[in-house]
Structure formats: C-alpha cells, structure tokens
Amino acid sequence: MDFLLEPLNLVTFTPFLGVLVLLFLKEREDLARWVSLATALITFGVSLYVLSLFDPSNPGLQLEYTAPWIQVAGFNIQYALGIDGLSILLVLLTAFLTPIAILSTWHAVEERVRDFHLFFLLLEVGMIGVFLAQDLFLFYVFWEFTLVPMYFLIGIWGGGQRMYAAIKFFLYTMAGSILMLLAILWLGINQGSFSVPDLAAMGGIPANIQYWLFLAFAAAFAIKVPMWPLHSWLPDAHVQAPTAGSVILAGVLLKMGTYGFLRFNLPLFPQAAVELAPLMGFLAVVGILYGAIVSYSQKDVKKLVAYSSISHLGFVVLGLFALNSQGIQGAILQMVNHGISTGALFLLVGFIYERRHTREMDEFGGLWKIMPVYAVITLIVSLSSMGLPGLNGFVGEFTILLGAWGGGEGGPLGSNLYAGFAALGVILAAVYMLFMFQKLFLGPVTNKKNEGLKDLNLRELAIIVPLLVLIFWIGLYPKPFFDLMGPTVDNLVQLFQSGTMALH
C-alpha cells in the first residue's frame, strides 16, 4: 500500500485501478463510461494534489520515488519516478485532457465501449509514466507501452483506413524507438547507470559519441513530434483516429517527443545539442513553413488541423534549440498551448462530424448562422491557434520566436534567419486558419443538409469551456505557468551558457 500512496505512483496508477474495475463490466456500457470518466477525474484530482505538493522554487526533481527493479549482470535498472519544472505542466495537461477526451466519446463510441475506455485509461498510465520516469529503461517501457493502447484505439475505433493508419503509426514509432533503445543500452553499459539525473550529473561522454547518442535519441523523438520530414504517419493517424484519440494524440502523445528532447537530449548531451542546434532549428523551421503551406491546401478539416500541428510543433522544437530561457520556457508553454488549442480544434471537428458524418470543407459554409455558439468558440480557438495576442498561442509563439532570435546571431543557432523565417509562419497560420474558418462558417448556407443542424449542447459545452478558460488564462496571465517551470529551465540553460561559450 505504501507504494501506491506515494503521490507520483498514485497519479500514474490511478487510471490502472479504473482499468481493473472496467474488467468486470463487460455488459454494462453506460457504467463503463461513468467509471472511466470518474477515474480520469480522480486522476486529475490527484495531479492537482501533486501540484499542491510541488515546490516551484526548487529546480531539482521532487517527490521522487525509487526502488530497485532489474538488477542483474551489472545492470542497475531502477523504478524511479520524479517530477520537476519540465514535466509538471505536461502531467497536468495529460490529466486534464483525458477526462475531456473521455467525455467527448459519450455518443461517438458505441461499440465495445468497455474496451475503448480500458485502452484509454491504459494509455493515460503510459503517458503519465513517460513524463515521470527518471530511469531510462523505465522511460523506454512506458514509451513503448503507450503504443499499444493507441494502436488499438486507432485500429478498432478508427475510420475507413484504420488498420493502415494504426500499423503505420506503430511501425513508424517503433522504428525510431529501436535506435533510442540502442543508445539507452550504450549509456547503461558504458556509464553504468540508467538513472537520468545521475547521467546528467555525471557528464563526461566524449563529444563524438554524444553526437551519435543525440541522433539516436533524436530519431525516436523526431518521429514522435513529428518533425519534418518524418511526419507522414501523422495525417493518417489523425484522420483515422476517433475524436478522443486525435485529442490525446495531438494533445499529449506528440508532446512526448518534444519532452524527450527536453528531458534527455539537452541535459545528457549538451555539447551535441549545441552543435546540432542549427540542424534541428533548420528542420523545425522547414516544418513550420511546410506544415502551414500544406495545411492551406487541405480539403478535410481534420487533415488541415493535423498538418497545422506539424507547423506548431516546429515552433516548439525551434524554441527548445534556441537553448535560452525564453526559447525553452516558451516551448514548454507552447506544448501546453498546442495541447489545448489543437485538442479543442479536434473536439470541435468531432462535434460537426457527429452531426454531419463528413469533414469535407466543401460540404459546409455559412454555419455561423445555424450554429452561432459553435462558430464563436471555433473562432476563438482558431485565433488562439494562430497566435492572436491575448490568447494562449501568442505568449508561447512570441517567447519562442524571441528566444530563437536571441539564440540566432552569436547563439547556438548561428543566424537570425531561423526566427525570421519562423515568424513568416505567423502570417501563413492566419492564411490557413482563416481559410478554414471562412469555408466552414462564413458565406451563405449553400448546402441544404446543414440547415437543420443543432448548436452545441450542454455536454459539448462542458467539454469545450474548460479549454476556453485556459486559452484566455494563459493568454492574459501566464505567470503561474512560467513560475512552475522557471527555476528548472534556468538551471538547464546554465549548462548551455557555459557550453556555448566553450564552442564559440
């Protein structure tokens, strides 16, 4: 029992208790929904409890729990959980988005309801575990573990080509993970430890080896983010996944990639990070522009939002490899922002899909007149996504771009062109977002099928309003969020201030 009462174990495994309950509920679909929702809400409650125990002024790991796990033949693998400024917001985001996603499935998932929720809660265990694990091996286990439920969520409850998408998703991610596993094993054997904080403190990996290890880790993370040009699985997975799956996929799973860069690549291989920053920055900027341009030409709303994710996460990666406080803090905040805004966009697309069973933009037009509340909410979320000041997206994008500019000339990126071209993405974001909004909501009602559509109901409002509150909150008063990560990031950045200076 002591094991479970540790706050971090509690937040990780609370969803698992829900899974155990669900196993006994084969025939009771309604009850399964409620059990799942209740579990997710309790998990969110527990995450808030963790937040209450968290000390923002402490830059190090907190609430650590460590136990020996696999200790054979010189391998010292531990079950180690810990939380700090880099992960607290992502844990909260995961726990926050899961109940919302579950609530969105109320009428969308009608088949094998119990199994759906079972996988969903298992997924939550994996995601929270990924953000909390402080042992490379444990991290790898959680990392791979998230694949399984997601594979089934796409493969069973997805759209027409779900198997194709599910397999592609699985294989793509696995391919990257293998390289990471090799790098993890190298570290475990040669450095004698799998513990992330120990490895970070140890340092002393030769520069040329750091290089390869960095790339091996980066392969896994870049696929997950996904960074251009490894993004090809994303549109398939998003388009085929059920709404709740897309929300979690965009909201949390993609963040595992950027979080991986932050947690492993930067602190473990600082020299390689500085050296490879221009490469990562280049890929990020290409991703920003490419995602934005490709979004503009989509006909399926969900695909448009999926490609916009590539653009948005390009900003996050660019911020990370600016390697200064503004860039990294902006990037962490932008991870949260993207989870909220893009999650909300997927939910909104889901709402209209449930009504019309199509996502083709040509089928719509003039919806504002028919569904004004829906239109206004979509407008706010779109504006947040394109970075309108006063809403959350702006705070993240601005700080990232500011950081990237600072990390340009004389910094790790080496040129201000990165930030300059990335800022062009701000224009392009307006182009595709407004294009989408116009196609769906403005103009006359041309399609008779849309005339009788009902505006959002109470359940749908309950799903979307919490996201709106956060959109405004982060946009107007992001201080509490920056305060949570500030000391940890400052600590991390010091590593590069010395590193950058050594290089130049």
Binding site: Y296, S297, S325, P389, A430, L442
Partner: protein
Amino acid sequence: MLAAMISSIEEVGGFFTSVPLIVFLPLAGLLLNIILGAIFKDRWGERASSGIAIAAVLGAFVVSVLQWLSLQGHHEGVTVMFKEWIQIGDLDIPWEFRVDTLSVTMMLVVSGVGTLIHIYAAGYMHYDVRYKEDPASYRRFFIYLNLFIAMMMVLVSGNSYLMLFVGWEGVGLCSFLLIGFWYSRNPDASTGIGNSFAAKKAFVANRVGDFGFLIAMFLTFWATGTLSFADVFEHVDAIAPGIVLAITLFMLLGVTGKSAQLPLYVWLPDAMAGPTPVSALIHAATMVTAGVYLVARSAPLFAAVPEAQTAVALVGGITALFAATIAVAQSDIKKVLAYSTISQLGFMVAAVGMGAFVAGMFHLVTHAFFKALLFLGSGAVILALERAHHPLEEDGHEHDHHDDHGQAAEHHFDPQDMRIMGGLRKQIPTTYWVYLVGAVALAGLPPLAGFFSKDEILADALHANPLVYALLTAAAFLTAFYMGRQVLLVFFGQARSEAAAHAVESPRVMTIPLMVLAGLSIFGGALNLPGLHGLTHWLEYTLGHEFAHATEFNITVALTSTLLALAAIYLAWLLYGRQPATDAKAQDPLQARLGGLWRAMQNKWWVDEIYEALIIQPYRRLAAFFAETVDWRFWHDWVHDSLTGRGFRGLARFLANPVDQGVIDGIANGLASGTVGLSKVFSFFQTGFVRNYALMVFLGVVAMLGYLVFFA
C-alpha cells in the same frame, strides 16, 4: 472583482489609477451585452444593447478626460502597473498603462469619436439589420464595437511595444469581425468581393505588417533588453545604427499594414464592405491611424536614422498621391472616401516620417473628425436612398410601388453608387450641410480643421524633403478635386434615380453626432493654431523639445495649397457642376478626356489583379503542389507506401517465398517428407498378414542360424 484588481495598482495620485477602466469599461459593456442579449428582445433589446455599448464608451471617454485633467499637474506622464504578464529571465513585460500627453490625445480621440459613432450606429444599424434581414445581429454589432474600443485603448495606452502589439492585433481582429459582419453575403456590385473574403484579406494583409512589427520587437529586445518605451528610448544611442535602421524599417512594414500604406494598403478599400459606422470608426478615424501613432511613439528611434525617416516619408508621400489618383475615378461613394483615407494616412505617415511628429498627430486628430463625419454622412446618404427604394414598415408605405420591381430590380440597386444620386441637397439638407463641412475640411480650405493640419505638414515637407512636398501638394490638389466631384455628383444636379428623388432624411440619433463632428471639423484647427501651438506644447511633454518643434506658419505654402484647392474645386465644378449628368448611365466627363489613364485609375492601377497573379495564385498553387504532389503523392504515397511499404512487403515476400519457403522450409519439409517416404518403404513390409510376419520370423531365424552356424 474589478475593484480588487484596481486597488493593487500602486498609488500615483490624480485619477491615474482609474486608467485601466478605459479598457475594462468597454469590456464590461460587451460582456453585459452578451448576457443581456438572452433577456431583452426586439426594440427593447436594441435599446438595451446600444444603450449599454454607448454608456461603456462614454464611460471610457470620461475616464480619458479624467486622465487629461490629471495630466495637468503631471505633464511628464505616469505609468500605471496593473499586473505581471510575461516574465522570463530578462524578458519582463507587464500589463502596464502609460498615461502621457501622447496617449491621452489618442484616448480622447478614440473614445470621443467612438462615442459619437456609437450613438450614430444605434440609429443606423436599426435600419441596416433590417435591410440585411437579420435583426438579431444588432446586438452582435455593438459587442464587436465595444471590443474594438477596448482593444484600441490597449493599443494607445500600453507602456510597451508588446502591449501595443496586443491592441494592434486585437483591433485587427475586430476589423476582421466587422468587415465580415454581413458574413453571409455573396460578392456583389458594391463590395466587389464577398464580405468574408474582404475580412480575410484585411486580416492577412495586416498579418504581413505584424510580421514586420514582430521582427522589430525581437531586434529591439535583444539590442536593449527591454520592450517598454521609456527604457528602449534610453538605449537608442547605445544601439548600432544598422540595428536601429532595421528596427525602424521592419516597423515601417507594420505601419504599411495597419495604416494602409503602399504596398499593403489593398485591404482597406475592400474593408468598405463592413457597415458604414465601422468604416468611420475603424477604417478612417482610429484603427488605421495606429501606424502613425506607432511612429510618433517611436520618435527617438526614427529620429536616430535619417534613412528610415526618408523611407517612411517617401512611402507616405507616394501613397498619398497614388491613392488620390484612384479616388478620382471611383463611383462608389464609400470607395472614394476609402482611397481618400489612404491618401490622408499617407500625409500623416509622411509627416511623422519627416520628423514632423506633431504635425502628423495634428492631422490624425482633425482627420478623425472630418473623415468620420464624411463616412457617417455617406452612411446617411446610403440609408436615405435605401429607405426611399425599399421602405421599412415603420417608414410608411408611400413608395410601395418600388417593391413591384421584383427581385431582378433589387439586385441592380446599389445605394452606394454616386451615379444614381444627384440633387440630394434638397431631400436631405442636414446631411448635405454636414457633408459639405467635412468635404471642405478635407479639401483643406481655411479656416477649417483640415487646412491647418495639412498646411503644417506641407510646410514641414518643404523644409525636409522637396520631393515629398511635391507629392503631397499634388495629392492635396487631387483631394480637393475628388471631394468637389463627390459633393457635386451626390448633392447637386438632379436626381438620377427614383430612390434619389425620394431620399429620406435620417433620424436625429444619426444627425446629431454628425452635427457635433461638423462642429469639430470646423473648429478642430484651433488645437494647434499657428502662433499658439497648443498641441505642440502639449505633445512636447512626451516627445521632448527635440521632436516636437513648432512649425512656423508658411504663408507661401498656405497660399499655394489654398489656391490649388480652389482651382481643383473649380475644375470639378467645370466638369460635374456646370452641366450635371441627368442619367445614371451617362459617361463620366473625365473618362473621355483621360482615356487610358482613367481606366487605370478606375481599375485601381490593377494592383489587386497584380497581387492576385503574383502572390495569391502562386501561393495557392505552391500550397496545392506541396500538399498534393510533394507531401501526398511523393512523400506519403510513393516514398512511404510504394517505396518503403511495398519495398518492405517485396522483401518480405522474397524472404517468405524463395528464401523461407525454398530453403528453410525446404529443409524442414524435406525432413518430414523423407521420414514419410522411408516409412512408406517400411510399411511395405507391414502387410497386416500374420503369415508374412511369420515368414519373416522364419527367415530371420534362418538367417541368424545361418550366421551362427557358418560365421560364428
């Protein structure tokens, strides 16, 4: 809750602590309107909506006046801290208000003119929503208007570039919402492109400008370590001149977007698709002047690099003349005013570019008065025709026969087309008189407001940059000409359509704001009369003596421009007033005289078409190419599905069939089939007949015995 927030502001004396109210009052107004909308309906709902909105803006105006009063004792101005905002490392940008003479001037203009326009809109929108057959939109309109005022206040009162940027993009959003107010309308004759397209165009063009603004902010921050105005200006001398030049030029890009200068002005004419009060408030009096305010605010930066100043002045001067030529050849009453606005903004930008910051601000203020007046007046004209053509029930049924024209006639009726007007001065005298005041003020005839402000700019231009002076003088000549043309076409001659003959005067809720604005247009020049220089001294507290020099009244310049304006008006009279057209289809007299030039001006020098061909279409094709060919067909289908996927399946099949089936399976199967074959051989002996077995036993025994006997 609000009270609690305000009390946290440190005490600075006077009424300064109330400054956040200029933002929060309009916000409260719009929230109240959102909530109340569900309660009140119909006429009472309209009264409640407009009442709340007007009260909110009036409140903001009162607070602005209080700031002005407070400033009397503290001319140097104060900053009022409200709340932290973004704080990372060196980056520390709070929600902080700046109250100084410059920002208070803007506050007064925005909330003052804003209040008048709100009042006017209460009457105007009553009709407009009915003509657009969507009465429920009345409330929505005032919610947007209040949001706009709030955002504009953030823009003018922010103490940092970033907070200014919040307002900057916020007003852009409101502009988007209000241009697209009648979002469901298709493209029609009066707007050219549909409302929603015009709205999108405005937002995107502004975003291009915002991109420049963003880059300017990055440069500023990394050069000075701060974004708040006073701190940045302190560091100007320490920044490398190249960086300052880059900052100012990128800022100029932002200015060209927001203040509709070349090359990003194209959104403003299409923005006329919005309801007329919006054109007056946002696209003439306030929002579009934000660029001018930005340059004036950044005076120390611009003054540090003469190259940037020249660039700004040239952009302004060229835009002023360029837009004026287009305005000459438009037949839509609002389009003329739109291009006139671009042209006048060119005057202001040129002024602040030349370092004549006060002159620019002065023209900004007077322009807000007379251009708002002209737009609102044009709204009254449009409404007069609309009501005559298609009376609402409450207007009585005297002109019912127009309805008999049926739908076909309805489509061709464009109440904004000056060619179907004429002789309106008899039908709508009040509108005529105020419009005339506005037109004369704009044309720059003494002693109206426009004369003084424009003259100050011209006098400065003569000193600073003769080329700009020439451009502006030519623009001033054209301004007087097209305003003369417009007044003559609209109000003089004889009615050229049934609707014009029966035009209906607007209600007093609309005409009273018009009269107030007319008064301001007449006496607005008093703000900075030559010799007194009230505004100059007022702004000097903020800009400093260096940048707020009082321009000497130049009698030559004044006489030249006045004479030119009179000549232009006379020319207009010769063409349009002496023998006014009697038929709506008559050719414009200038068309025959100018030929190709007229066509170029009428078609706006084909800039929209050029942009369409050079930027929009290529981008669309590029996006389609990337999305369909590169990303989908090449990367997704070919590389992933064909090359990787099918390649892997091919490899798998190769391994499965020849290798696995042939070799590995061969061995395993061979083992099995060998066993089977062998057992077949052996099973030959197992006949099942006991005798055979017995025989074998015998043979075996015989063999064994034989062995034992013969070999053992």
